[in-house]
């Protein structure tokens, strides 16, 4: 799944509230940071990372789009009917996906929290599956199920249904992105103080009345947040429109075609710019408006248990809906799995292992090893960086704290394609500094070597790893911030008061306490690195093959079997990695669990 910068931001609103409340406690200030060399160096590194790996590429992309050539293209694109349609398409798709995804997410969360239902654990797991799902998998499976020759559309209903276009995109994206909304609502519904509903009941309100007048208004910020986040994710998505778009063109695919098909960086930058405007607007609205207006979870610990919905008709309608969607998702994954061991799915259904052979022993093995290696390198970097930034932001009141947070979040707030183009522009050549006033015979100083392409250091792998880190840190940061702001800062102060310095305190107190967030950050980083496509699609080279890129190739060639085999293996690798992370980093002590539970 591409996206989901909010899947771990369940408690980000809570963080805002906490920082407001606790602001008094961290007056330590800049002076304190500079007094401590370890802190000072960490902060400098973080700022450098944000600037070089995030801000610089975005600025370069913006710069290219505003060049003379780019300005001409702007006029052209914004003025012409065909391009206006692409923009409209993009926004319409964002709206339909955001609506459908938010609705599904809410439905799942509502049933999960407010109802007695069978298979609840199963529903929960199904809702989490999209996190580890590779791009194209859902889209391709949907084609096989509902396309012109689809198993369900043609096979069962006998219609030649055309799933390509808005309908298919909405279905695929909503099913891939609803997890964000689900986790958001689940957190909110659980945090919703039950005494509010109890009070309303006491005053004689019916369940329906309570739902309308208490629950929904309390969750309104949650709806807004989910809607906006899904909107951004949807318009940024590249994988699904490439496979399912058909004639329905969106900005992301335009960016892709400009670079891959036309080798026109400026045109790509201009399309990206047009895409960046709604993305960034929505990100800022979500951050500064929705984040501030949250009414839920100010008190932190709710008392009592949420009231259950018992109305039989309501219950069974909602439960059936959820189970239906679950069945659809299961069906999709069954298609993926069966497709990976079938000669040509739907045409020649003979069992075969040739697709796996292709991936494991043949052409695909390199991509498998490379991708996993890059992800393994990027994961701990992203995890540690996320925790460090979270620590600095929550615990150290320094000037520019908000900018550091914002800068880090930009890494995921901007569409991946934009970041990719930025890297192409900035790091395709070494960045050098020529000293003024010295002779021509003095070589220029290389500040940043060439990072992308075949002849870059590590054959371009470095740029890909950096992108993985950039795309993963925001989630680690949010989960770190969420957990850290629930840990009494006095615990760290107690350590300092007993004679420990900042570094010892971070190692012996902070890090063990935020281990659950660290673990979540690592899992997320690995899963995202393995499944990301939009940000690295322009950075892969014949030397550095990436699985998602290979899946795209196979899908485009119609070799679904190979694509599915890649997907199955990718899911397998992610699951194994999660198991390993749990075993090594996972927390076992009751203390940490109680902290988690108190969240």
């Amino acid at each position: 799944m591409e996206g989901s910068f909010a899947s771990l931001n369940v408690t980000s609103e809570r963080y805002e509230v906490f920082t407001l409340l606790n602001h008094t406690r961290y007056g330590a200030g800049f002076r304190r940071i500079w007094q401590d060399p370890v802190l000072a160096i960490s902060l400098l590194l973080v700022v450098l990372f944000i600037f070089v790996a995030i801000i610089l590429p975005i600025l370069a992309m913006v710069g290219a789009s505003l060049s003379e050539e780019g300005r001409a293209l702007f006029a052209h694109y914004l003025g012409e009917r065909a391009y206006q349609d692409i923009i409209t398409n993009t926004l319409v798709m964002g709206l339909t996906v955001a609506t459908a995804g938010t609705a599904i997410g809410f439905l799942f969360a509502y049933v999960q929290v407010k109802m007695k239902a069978p298979f609840k654990r199963f529903m929960h797991l199904i809702a989490l599956v999209p996190i580890i799902s590779p791009p194209f998998a859902v889209a391709t499976a949907i084609i096989l199920l509902f396309g012109r020759n689809g198993m369900i559309s043609k096979g069962i209903f006998g219609v030649r249904y055309d799933i390509y276009g808005l309908t298919g995109l909405t279905l695929a994206l909503a099913l891939s992105l609803f997890t964000i909304a689900y986790l958001n609502f689940k957190g909110m519904l659980q945090a919703l103080d039950p005494s509010l509903e109890e009070a309303a009941t006491n005053l004689g309100a019916s369940k329906w009345h309570i739902f309308r007048t208490v629950t929904v208004p309390m969750l309104l910020p949650g709806f807004a947040a989910s809607f906006l986040l899904l909107f951004v994710e949807a318009i940024a998505d590249l994988g699904n429109p490439l496979v399912l778009g058909g004639n329905y063109e969106v900005l992301a695919t335009r960016v892709y075609i400009s670079i891959i098909g036309l080798h026109d960086n400026v045109a790509a930058a201009v399309f990206s710019m047009i895409l960046l405007v709604p993305s960034l607007t929505v990100f800022i609205i979500q951050r500064y408006w929705v984040g501030r207006t949250s009414v839920v979870s100010v008190t932190g610990k709710p008392t009592g248990t949420p009231q259950q919905i018992t109305h039989p008709v309501v219950r069974w309608v909602l439960i059936s809906l959820v189970l239906g969607i679950c069945a659809l998702i299961v069906g999709i994954y069954v298609v993926i799995f069966v497709g990976s061991v079938t000669r040509v799915f739907g045409v020649n259904n003979a069992f075969t292992l040739e697709h796996f052979d292709f991936v494991i022993n043949g052409y695909g093995s390199e991509a498998m090893v490379d991708t996993t290696t890059f992800a393994i390198v990027a994961t701990p970097l992203a995890g540690v960086l996320g925790m460090l930034i979270a620590f600095l932001i929550v615990r150290k009141a320094f000037w520019g704290r908000n900018a550091v947070d914002f800068g880090t979040m930009l890494g995921i707030a901007v569409p991946g394609t934009i970041l990719g183009i930025g890297y192409l522009i900035v790091f395709n050549n070494p960045i050098t500094l020529t000293l003024p006033f010295v002779g021509d015979n003095v070589p220029a100083i290389t500040l940043i070597p060439k990072l992308t392409g075949g002849r870059a250091i590590l054959g371009g792998a470095l740029a890909i790893i950096v992108v993985y880190v950039v795309r993963s840190v925001p989630a680690a940061l949010r989960s770190g911030v969420a957990l850290l702001s629930q840990i009494d800062p006095a615990i760290e102060e107690a350590s300092i008061s007993l004679g420990a310095d900042n570094a010892v305190t971070f190692r012996k107190i902070t890090l063990p306490l935020i281990r659950p967030a660290f673990l979540a950050g690592l899992i997320y980083a690995f899963a995202r690195s393995m499944t990301t496509i939009s940000a690295i699609v322009f950075l892969t080279t014949p030397q550095t093959r990436i699985m998602t890129q290979q899946i795209l190739n196979e899908t485009e060639q119609g070799r679904y079997g190979n694509a599915f085999a890649y997907c199955v293996i990718l899911i397998g690798i992610v699951l194994v990695a999660i198991a390993i992370l749990y075993a090594t980093v996972g927390s076992t002590t009751g203390a940490e669990r109680s902290l988690e539970g108190g969240a």
Binding site: A490, A494, G590, A591, E592
Partner: protein
Amino acid sequence: MAATQSNAADSLRLESISKAFPARGGEGEVRAVDTVNLNILPGEFLTLLGPSGCGKTTTLRLIAGFETPSSGRILLDGKDITNQPPNKRDMAMVFQSYALFPHMTVFDNIAYGLHLRRLSRSEIRTKVVETLELMGLKGLGDRRPNELSGGQQQRVALARSLVMEPRVLLFDEPLSNLDAKLRVQMRSEIHRLQRRLRITSIYVTHDQIEAMALSDRIVVMNKGKIEQMGTPGEIYHTPATRFVADFIGRANFVDATVIEESGSNLVVEVLGRRFTVPAKFSYSPGMSVVAMLRSESLTLRQDESLLQVVIDQAMFLGSEVEYVVNVGTKQIVVVEQDPRGISVFDEGQQVGLDFAQEAIHLLPA
């Protein structure tokens, strides 16, 4: 107020300490601590007392080193420690929330600071075991904080600081999370320990009873400034300002007029009667002042010769009865101790109000 000249006996000195924070959500700044001068003597138990938001915690955190003062100096044994980081200061803080390390056992919590001092294992063991015993925590060393009751957690927090034998112990409302009964019990325990170990202690609380019970000296703060400093007795009986009088104990304020001066005494008229009281500040005849009358210094009696008042409200509180009586112009509160011995008056009844001359404490109007 307090002496700013050097005093060799000082343990800790705050010299015109101020701390301003940028105002939350707006322009300007909040002066949380405003030119505070303070000398703390070795072995002294000093309490910072005041309403919420008056700057007590900030003062304590400045002393601990968690905040840097905007101006002023802090000296420990004559040495300037204003810019010394908190971990380098020989002080230990007991937090309101206890701030126990949830991922460590009780033993490890207490041993934490000793490890940092690089004491030998056996030394650490001895000290921790001793402290566990001293604090009545014997046998709980292997527990985790979340397996302890609130009172036990409080003891661990205290033990963790005590074991360090710091020059100064700092307490930030350590008892405010305990229920009433436990609070009283821990209060007397802290009292007993401190009198025994005589570690210089600075204690922050908004609870006046706690402050009076524990302290050698109380510093009453208001809006970042020191209102008054003195022994519990001085603060209670001779408050310097109306704020202090009002904050501590139950006080009635009635208007009074200075009639004349006689030597170092004054004749004042309070509630229609004349009293001769010591002059605490300069007066001129005819001046309006305020007389503070503690509720427990007042008594009601059936006596026609006394000022007659009407009882508006009578509340039986077990150990005492609290009356709200009307003295014609205003209401005042009278408390009668041990109501069994005396007659309890009814609401609406008319009785006489009596008080001794010593009950009067004059404040500027």
